[in-house]
Symmetry: C2
């Protein structure tokens, strides 16, 4: 049977990758970090596969944690972003390909043999897929028995704004609806455990929790607000949103104003929730 899958629909426009660039292992893989010392002590040359690496800041940050002799193989479905990810890694003092290497891959059909990697990692990747369970199965296939799968997925409904400006609530609704129109997943955070069990994993081999991002301190608010405005102005959310009739130019300009007001309000806050899961692949 052949299944059709939706490609990564958000795209790698500068508006989208700009926000992604502040991401590090510390702020985006906090559930994985505590497992690294033990994994490295059993295999100092461990291989970590990072799926859907985008601009590669988490990949590079993970590679720093695996020095001196662990290795990150960072992959993405898009060619253009891999070049940028490579430049970023070099700018961080990493050696390519000794510490980290880059390769175009589809998560649905990874080009690796079974049982190849000690750790398989994906951050906010399943949300862009129409068949997240198939992707988890493929990750399990290439992971060594006893190895780890590390997943972190946003739950798009778990955003809380203060103040609750109507234009920001509209932005949030548009964001969810564009994701759904693209065949993606809006509730990945809460569904991770369910997807992984559907892929054949026993509940006892899953460690599940939730993590948050908080934008409240003035610097964080500014960075986030500007990224959202740039996304509204030049990103896929505008293009797709207008294309499929979910929004208009006028709406978009209202949302931009909303983000500006939010950035300037001293008491403004935004909370966002991600599901975080570590799966141990059973020894066969």
């Amino acid at each position: 049977m052949t299944t059709q899958h939706t490609p990564y629909a958000i795209g790698h426009a500068p508006s989208h990758t700009k926000h992604h660039e502040w991401r590090t292992a510390a702020n985006s893989a906090p559930h994985l970090l505590p497992h690294l010392p033990k994994a490295l002590s059993s295999n100092p040359n461990l291989k970590l596969l990072d799926i859907g690496c985008g601009p590669g800041t988490i990949s590079a940050s993970l590679a720093q944690h695996l020095l001196p002799s662990g290795h990150v193989l960072a992959t993405d479905i898009a060619d253009d972003v891999l070049e940028r990810a490579k430049e970023h890694a070099i700018s961080q003092g990493l050696s390519v390909p000794q510490n980290i290497s880059f390769q175009k891959e589809s998560v649905y059909e990874l080009s690796f043999p079974d049982n190849e990697f000690d750790i398989v990692h994906a951050h906010q990747v399943l949300c862009h897929l129409d068949d997240p369970v198939a992707a988890v199965k493929e990750m399990l296939r290439v992971c060594k028995p006893g190895g780890l799968i590390s997943l972190r997925e946003s739950d798009m409904h778990m955003w809380c704004f203060w103040p609750e400006l109507p234009s920001l609530l509209k932005f949030h609704e548009l964001m969810v609806n564009v994701m759904l129109a693209n065949g993606g997943q809006d509730k990945g955070g809460r569904k991770l455990v369910s997807w992984i069990m559907e892929a054949g994993v026993d509940r006892k081999d899953i460690e599940a929790g939730f993590g948050t991002w908080c934008y409240s301190e003035p610097g964080d608010r500014k960075a986030w607000g500007e990224a959202m405005i740039e996304r509204l102005r030049t990103g896929q959310m505008r293009q797709r949103g207008i294309e499929v009739g979910l929004t208009t130019e006028e709406d978009i300009e209202e949302m931009v104003k909303g983000w500006r007001e939010w950035m300037e309000r001293g008491d403004a806050t935004l909370g966002i929730v991600n599901g975080e899961v570590i799966v141990k692949k059973a020894a066969s």
Copy 2:
């Protein structure tokens, strides 16, 4: 001017306190714990005021962190729960009143002089008040200049269930509506920074974030589900809910069934979000 305030409306029925009893400083004051070593090194005899302590498990747990010579004064508006809190503290090996003491207090009119405590702590207390800003002002009053206020408040809309059983969504709606019918706050998590600034604090003296509770592992699911069922069967949520016409006996039984189903589903998850804030009281 005299202001009328709503008393703690949930009550301390066993159904409500049972769930509260698994709470510790580690799972309910993770934002405060990193500040304790520094506070203790400047004052080994520091005094921590815990407001709205309920069954006192967080208070006792905090007192353990302040050993040997720090002190927790645990307060609540309700007499009956204080006796239970005292018993709990003794069962944990704490000395009363050397390590921890108990006293009936209203957060709106604390009986202490200004600048009395090194740390003032309240966990999910403001959500039960009709004037949270007045309470924050009173906490600031009794806190020493340079001291800390530690707050953690649920954001009741930030719950995510999987599976999304209709009866559980109904439960969630009832919970929010009973809180509102009682004059409480449903969005404390996101509004904390705003309330604190309204009480006169500068944004730079506020450290804000969000924390989560995750119920997914079978044991956690069972404990949480049973506490919710007991609350539905014997707690204020049923009594008030029926009294003000928000629910019926039949609805309640549906919700009980929903929780049972959720507890038994291996892939079930519940995420809950709390706003977490540390305020440094400016030196005057």
